[in-house]
């Protein structure tokens, strides 16, 4: 190893700068909003006078409850649907390897690159005109699941690449039918990955504005409420809403992190 390495020092300094910039423009505003949500005077909150008023106003807002419930439904529905598809896709791709693998991968991931607003408008028109689906929660779930499946697939495939599919062969030789093999051996080893896929799908759909907006019209979700109130100027209740959503998602991510860590601890069979 080289004691004096200018390249390494430069790289370290560059990374420090990058992180400072990222945190300054990404996380700092978020923490600032969280801070604002607890203070009386939101225009110039120094020194602060703490209050829960904005939270109380938010909870008594007309359609807040309805919006929360709808967002949860869309989030869970999309999470389940996209996880199911993404898991099947990932297993198909990894367990039954074929020479079309690269091409299939591209097709599964392609929805990542379609603009959400385009998915929203086009699925509204297509679902209504061709499939005869009215704009409702179901069609919002389906529309969200299109790109959420791609994200969930990305998460699941990355983790399933570590699973040794020969374990499935072992189970079959020892008498397990394909269904039992999945339940007894595959699933217990890959569930953290599936769980991760579900949360990605959930968070994306829960937070989504464009797709849900076009498919739902007047039916409220948290993002559409936030967007709606924005039109009458930024109100302090919005800070409370943003803080709740953020805190919720951070919590999920933390839980997820620990679940993944625990779940994969035992997967490393090559580890002596």
């Amino acid at each position: 190893m080289n004691a004096v390495n200018p390249g390494r020092k430069l790289a370290l300094a560059g990374q420090a700068l990058l992180l400072i910039l990222l945190y300054l423009f990404l996380y700092f505003p978020i923490f600032y909003i969280m801070y604002l949500s607890f203070v009386e005077n939101t225009v110039w909150p120094f020194p602060p006078e703490y209050t829960l008023e904005h939270y109380i106003n938010l909870l008594t807002l007309d359609n807040f409850h309805q919006g929360l419930v709808n967002s949860l439904i869309i989030g869970i529905g999309t999470g389940l649907l996209s996880t199911l598809f993404a898991t099947m896709a990932a297993i198909g791709l990894l367990k039954y390897q074929s020479r079309w693998r690269g091409l299939l991968m591209i097709f599964y991931l392609a929805p990542l690159f379609v603009a959400h607003i385009l998915i929203g408008i086009s699925s509204l028109i297509f679902n209504k005109a061709i499939l005869g689906l009215p704009g409702n929660l179901l069609s919002a779930i389906i529309a969200n699941a299109t790109y959420a499946t791609a994200f969930a697939f990305l998460v699941i495939v990355a983790q399933l690449a570590r699973y040794d599919w020969r374990l499935d062969d072992v189970a079959m030789v020892f008498g397990a039918t394909p269904a039992k093999t999945f339940r007894e051996v595959t699933l217990p080893n890959i569930w953290p990955a599936i769980f991760g896929g579900f949360f990605v799908g959930f968070i994306l759909a829960f937070n989504n504005l464009e797709i849900s907006f076009y498919n739902l019209g007047a039916i409220p979700t948290l993002p559409t409420i936030a967007w709606g109130t924005l039109r009458h100027g930024i109100k302090p209740e919005l800070y409370a809403l943003a803080s709740i959503v953020n805190a919720f998602i951070f919590l999920i991510l933390i839980i997820l992190y620990f679940l993944l860590k625990m779940g994969f601890l035992k997967l490393d069979i090559k580890d002596r």
């Binding site: 062969d169 072992v170 020892f174 051996v185 035992k266 490393d268 002596r272």
Partner: protein, 364 residues
């Protein structure tokens, strides 16, 4: 020999353009049968076909006379010990071992009984609640063996079970596996690319190359009477020479190997002028101390320079440089002093010692 349990009849299997099995027919009875071959010769493929994890393109697999060719793996009742152990990482030792019984829907008392039996057989006491990542390599090996044996299968397949163990442990497990086979009295099909392992453990063995069976039979038969060039060169420590048949004399041929004459028994397909491969196991050669010249009646006798001696304990490898610039390795009892380096010595072997084949037989 006792009755046949497992039969392979004319098995073919291609993966794209790779011929992984080509007209394989084997009968295995209650014995330890070793399948030996270099990497990529199709050994694992053969086991996977027997287990039902791979369907042959052509041919049949019979177990106890019943055609199982189209039966899925979970209906075959076979035990298997996999390369790299492949224990279930999320199950404890005990759960791993009773897995086959659980899949067969056995009741708790049967499970317990069989588990006790097998964990004593393979010496696994006290590890029940450990997870695979908490085991040493040797312990994992024992668990894998126990899982393969616990349901008293009709056949046990072992795919290079000792390849990941160190030498000491390997010696110990070789003896153990041999003991299990004798105790259980079921066929063990033992895949390895380690010839020493195959020769130590097996009753009979088969040698595979490029998806084909080169020779099958008793291990002494294969070692001492190989039928192909490949088997002759693959088994043991072999000197490979090539030359032209110069003369036929008194039931023997004389082969000219770069100016050195070698003798071998005459066979029907030999003709003067034919190029032949001449294989000679190093332990079939005798080394004579300087000054001693052996009687060359019925023997090949050559003089050479003792270039080096590699002392191995019970025997030594002598590297002999010949006047035709080739080298021969002789394994003999270590009687020649290492101080005699570069001395001129004679080496000799009986005419029937070598294995000779027409040269187009093809070497790997």
């Amino acid at each position: 020999m006792s009755e046949t349990i497992l039969q392979l009849q004319g098995i073919y299997k291609n993966f794209g353009s790779v011929e992984a099995a080509k007209n394989i027919s084997i009968n295995v009875s209650k014995e330890l049968f070793a399948l030996l071959g270099p990497s990529g010769s199709g050994k694992t493929t053969m086991l996977r076909i027997i287990a039902g994890l791979e369907t042959p393109d052509k041919g049949r697999v019979l177990i106890n006379g019943r055609d199982v060719t189209n039966l899925p793996p979970y209906k075959r009742g076979i035990g298997m010990v996999f390369q790299d152990f492949l224990l279930f990482p999320h199950k404890t030792v005990k759960e791993n071992i009773v897995f086959p019984l659980k899949m067969q829907g056995k009741d708790e008392s049967t499970k317990e009984e069989q588990y006790q039996w097998v964990s004593q057989l393979v010496h696994l006491e006290g590890l029940d609640e450990r997870f695979p990542y908490q085991l040493s390599g040797g312990q994992k090996q024992r668990v894998a063996l126990a899982r393969g044996l616990v349901s008293r299968p009709s056949v046990l397949l072992l795919d290079e079970p000792l390849a990941n163990l160190d030498r000491e442990l390997r010696k110990e497990m070789e003896i153990e596996i041999r003991r299990f086979q004798l105790e259980l009295g079921i066929p063990f099909i033992y895949v390895t690319h380690n010839q020493e392992e195959a020769l130590t453990m097996s009753d009979r063995m088969a040698i595979m190359r490029l998806g084909q069976l080169e020779q099958i039979g008793d291990k002494f038969e294969l070692y001492h009477h190989p039928q192909t060039s490949f088997v002759a060169s693959f088994l043991g420590s072999t000197n490979a020479m090539q030359g032209e048949i110069k003369a036929v004399d008194n039931g023997c041929i004389v082969v000219d190997w770069d100016g050195v004459s070698l003798r071998a028994p005459y066979k029907d397909d030999f003709k003067i002028g034919m190029t032949v491969d001449y294989f000679l196991k190093s332990e079939k050669i005798t080394i004579h101390p300087p000054g001693q010249k052996p009687d060359d009646h019925g023997r090949t006798v050559i003089e050479g320079r003792l270039r080096d001696t590699i002392f191995k304990g019970q025997y030594a490898d002598y590297l002999i440089s010949l006047k035709n610039d080739n080298e021969i390795i002789v394994s003999d009892v270590p009687t020649i002093s290492p101080a005699l380096r570069n001395a001129t010595v004679s080496i000799s072997w009986p005419s029937e010692a070598p294995d000779v084949f027409p040269a187009d037989g093809g070497l790997a």
